[in-house]
Amino acid sequence: MINRYRWWEYLLIYAGMALFLVFMLAPFVEAFMVSLRPLNEVFRVPYRFIAEGMGFGNYVTIWTAQPMLLRWIMNSFGIAVAVTILSMFCSVPAAYAFARFEFRLRGSILAVFLVVSMVGAAVLIIPLYKLMLAAGLLNSYAAMIVPGAAFTVPVGIFLMRSYFMRIPAELEEAAYVDGASRLYTMRRVILPLAVPGMVVVAVTTFITAYAQQFLFALTFNSRNELNPLPVGLFQFFGHETVRWNEIMAASLVGVLPVLVLYVFLQRFIVAGLTAGAVKE
């Protein structure tokens, strides 16, 4: 009964939602409208919301205009997946250590991770480049994956840590009393229980990695067939006139898979964030 609304409350809520969605979706509407226009209608004054000759033609031509498009989308996906796996491989054990053990340097190491999460990669690009060079990673997927993962590890650690802290310590103690080794306990008891939290962190990392894979790819990779989508999109700029309609079509196509993924996983994300939320 507490969730019953009066008519004006409904009105207010839906009006609020509508306004919110207008703000959140306007750029997508714009992009979509642009993507439907033929090029000569893109630059047409005065502005018309519905232009002549609108259609899905661009969604067909992008694949031939940039034959690598599919490859870029796959790269983006692949790189984001790899970043996620590598990042999780590092952040999950570390978060467990921070959540459960008292050890010297714990505070300082945690602080270092915090500081790292505070530095934008943009200003570190030259030392990073030297590093990639020394490691011989340039022009490989690894060049985009490794630094991408490194900069997502700190946030991953913080999220996972609060999740681990919610798993009762007694479960581990019970396992120790039963003779299980620490690794066995972690593998058989802790990790299976942390799965919901790991899903959240993985999805967050994935989305971050997907949304922010421009700088590293641009700087550390010079092989077009390895490029992720955002870098690839810049190649639409090369024409006589920038083919904005195709760029928008390609962008929307590139965003779609992640959006679908999000739709499927959103339940877990809300629930998992709830678990991670700092309380009391």
Partner: protein, 380 residues
């Protein structure tokens, strides 16, 4: 076979790219010891990336980039000078080769060349009742035309680019040079506070009143569709701009002359440079000389729609075939290069910031000139 890595700013979808690739393939066929890998990068990121590569000690063997970086690259000991024979040197117009010459040495080979002309929409001029069959020839005529068009038609008089992009400065230089102004004199001193410069700034400020809405959001690329749509009656562009004005009844004339100068233009070249420290300096030099040899370069220019780097019989034929080429070629001898300063980005930032001030009406022309003069002088 060793690989020559070449960074090419721009896109491989540009029309001249296949030509270049064809030439490279030919060269590789002649020099089987080497392979060539060309990496195309968007202009926005290209320079930064190439220089990051250089700073980290792994430069490409050669790169195609704006000539304005040459001074910084050579001062930083990143590129090697190109040895040209007298004959090779002589094949270039002096004003063109000057864009790559620093301290008597040639640091790169001009690859793409552009000069600017004033595009004007004949229909709009007619609509505004202007009688200028050859287009505006002086600053004053230009202002008159712009004012008339702004007042009498729906279009703006002029398309003024003033965004935070290099071509804001470039477009300004066209007018500066056409008014006899200079940024740096022959001895390398900054001379920005000259009366000519102040006058040009004042002209710009006036022009801004009859320009399209929001000049600070525009660079040249953004003006092209406006011109095409008849929203602006004039703007300056390079030769390839003609192809982008399809369907418009337009004329191209020389940049109007200021009260204290004559028709001029900014000469911009992009050039091929050879980086130091790759161990491949020699074949790289061979390759770029091969690519820029007169006949191949001409083919490249033609395909790309660039102003020909070398003048000659080909050029006359070009004009004969398409008279609109004339203003772009005629301006070459009187044109001026980009001011060669080591910190060219710094220079540009200073100039753009103050030009924007003038365009917005926030800075008086004198004030802007003094500021630019001071800041440029302080630049090391």
């Amino acid at each position: 076979a060793e690989e020559l890595h070449i960074v090419n700013c721009g896109s491989d979808t540009e029309p001249q790219a296949p030509v270049q690739q064809k030439h490279i393939d030919e060269w590789v066929a002649e020099n089987p010891d080497y392979t060539v890998r060309v990496e195309y990068l968007p202009w926005e990121q290209c320079q930064a990336k190439t220089l990051t590569l250089a700073a980290a000690g792994t430069p490409p063997a050669a790169a195609y980039m704006g000539s304005r970086v040459l001074k910084q690259l050579s001062a930083s000991d990143q590129i090697v000078p190109i040895e040209l024979s007298e004959e090779e040197l002589a094949s270039y117009e002096p004003s063109v080769i000057s864009t790559v010459q620093i301290g008597g040495e040639v640091w790169g080979l001009p690859r793409a060349f552009s000069t600017k002309g004033l595009f004007w929409n004949k229909d709009l001029f007619a609509e505004a009742g202007l009688d200028m069959p050859e287009g505006p020839q002086t600053f004053e005529e230009m202002l008159t035309a712009a004012k008339a068009i702004s007042e009498k038609t729906d279009a703006a008089g002029f398309g003024l680019p003033a965004a935070d992009m290099d071509n804001t400065f470039h477009e300004f230089l066209n007018f500066l040079y056409s008014n006899g102004g200079q940024v740096v004199d022959a001895d390398g001193n900054v001379v920005f506070d000259s009366p000519q410069n102040v006058e040009t700034l004042a002209f710009y400020q006036e022009l801004a009143k009859y320009s399209q809405e929001g000049p600070l959001a525009y660079e040249r690329g953004g003006l092209e569709p406006l011109f095409k749509e008849g929203q602006i009656a004039m703007y300056t562009s390079y030769a390839a701009g003609r192809g982008k004005a399809e369907g418009v009844n337009f004329g191209v004339s020389l940049i109007p002359a200021g009260p204290q100068g004559e028709h001029s233009t900014l000469l911009i070249t992009d050039s091929l440079v050879v980086f130091k420290g790759t161990g491949l300096e020699e074949p790289a030099q061979k390759l770029i000389k091969y690519l820029t040899a007169p006949e191949r370069q001409a083919e490249f220019d033609k395909e790309g729609g660039w102003t020909p780097i070398r003048l000659g019989t080909d050029t006359d034929a070009l004009i004969a075939e398409d008279p609109t080429w004339k203003p772009f070629i005629d301006a070459i001898p009187t044109g001026g290069p980009e001011p060669l300063m080591t910190d060219f980005v710094g220079m540009q930032d200073i100039a753009i910031e103050n030009i924007q001030g003038v365009v917005l009406g926030e800075l008086a022309p004198e004030e802007a000139a003094t500021r630019i003069q001071e800041d440029l002088s302080a630049l090391d």
